[in-house]
Symmetry: C3
Subunit: 207 residues, 3 copies
């Protein structure tokens, strides 16, 4: 069968790569916090993953610019790839701040937030794969709801982290540093929710 304007399947591949890349970043963050050693080197690896995300974003935009017919709306493709990039940017920011602030060792709450990020990005990997079959929206919407649940969990952990931090009797400068790190991690979980919101929007628009 001849199709004059074949749907460009590679956008789905780019989404899957971007989601897998964000998940890799989250996993590297978990390892960074679990085994807090050789941290400059580990931070460099996370920076490389973040650069790979930038490349995927630019590549997707260039492809959009050269593609006549897209499988889903052009602006949604753009939104989705940009929002996935934001997740990695904030993981990279959190890691950079820990080094910049000369943090001696991570906290349990930081590790718990990293676990939320690993779970959220894992759900996004699966959700993004389901975009190839927009005719069946329910599994994608369920995945998005799971991301919302993880974001609530992130909020809960941030709350606990701040309570612990302010009860610790540490000096104000340590409190400023850790508050910043926790908020970067929790913002990254918020950006996962933004990705879920874009996915929901795409699904509902095409329902």
């Amino acid at each position: 069968m001849f199709r004059l304007f074949p749907k460009d399947e590679t956008f789905f591949e780019l989404f899957e790569q971007a989601a897998a890349n964000a998940h890799e970043g989250a996993n590297l963050l978990v390892d960074f916090l679990d085994k807090y050693e050789d941290i400059e080197n580990k931070a460099r690896k996370i920076k490389n993953v973040e650069h790979a995300g930038d490349e995927l974003t630019h590549h997707t935009i260039e492809r959009l610019n050269k593609t006549f017919i897209t499988p889903i709306d052009r602006e949604d493709i753009h939104d989705l790839i940009c929002r996935m990039d934001d997740v990695l940017d904030l993981i990279d920011t959190a890691v950079h701040r820990m080094i910049l602030y000369k943090i001696a060792k991570p906290t349990d709450d930081a590790r718990a937030l990293a676990t939320v990020l690993a779970k959220s990005t894992d759900i996004l990997v699966k959700a993004v794969k389901l975009l190839r079959n927009l005719k069946d929206p329910d599994p994608i919407l369920r995945a998005c709801k799971e991301v919302h649940t993880q974001e609530n969990e992130g909020d809960r952990i941030l709350h606990h982290a701040l309570a612990t931090l302010f009860d610790s009797g540490q000096n104000p400068i340590e409190i400023i540093k850790w508050k910043d790190i926790y908020e970067s991690l929790e913002s990254s979980a918020d950006r996962c929710e933004d990705v879920a919101n874009v996915l929901e929007g795409i699904v509902l628009k095409n329902a």
Copy 2:
């Protein structure tokens, strides 16, 4: 008269419920700050309102998924309900932080910010009702402009609050705590402006 695809009026009801819910949250916040007693219990009521907002959001998304013809664009319905949810999330965050930070008593500036939120959400309640009559966009746009004015007022109060805070000679940890609370309250007013932006977008698209 038979209509093959009747417009699903219930989306308007869901918007009105979500706006009323956000307004209730803002009113509970005003009471929380005005009569700062039994605060754990009052915070729990605000959390319940926030949960009700989450439920309304999920319910709207499910309905969108099952509805063939929508009265306004599907992605705008999704945006509007999600942005209204954000307003409540930040009210809940501000209240939670006050308890977490063991704040002994609220400030006039916190109360003034809560009043801005009560006004902004009251305007949103009215604006959202007007969505049923998109043929008459002017009153909605006027309401949105009022929300922008309230947001400027919120900025002004935050500015005053920070000036007072830094002039107070309090210790740095108190300053960190209050800066966080003020910024959560002011962010909630910013999210009201985001709702107004979505409303403007809907009105202008359908003009």
Copy 3:
């Protein structure tokens, strides 16, 4: 040649004025930081530019409301003008905070962030002019990529600024103040990237 619905060219003029206005704000910020004298007066000039931005935004929304056919999608016109306004809001916030916090003299890092803003808004001025010729998307996309590069530069400077700040041995209150100022400046550069994202979206949608 008679055209029943002539494209309303004035939207392009409004975009160009808004971008030029944001660029003027960034240039005034550079001057404010370079010659840190008569600062109340300079801050008032920046506030006036910010007000002019608000006026342009409201004027654009009113025009959208009265215009039947628009040269690009109505919601994109709305997004673009609102995002440009955000850039100026944050420049104004940063300047206001410096006065509020009674900052005695600016830092090299603050000046470097202002330079990033001057460059980013200069690129936006050029990019927005290119919107008149959507048939030739490549120069606009190249400009957007340059804005992304500037935003990375802003991130790098913020990182350096925070490292210097925490190494300075200053008291916690000075650290809180400067962290807030730096973050406002860097957020303004982020908002330039948001404008670039809207421009990319417009270009790709119309490609």
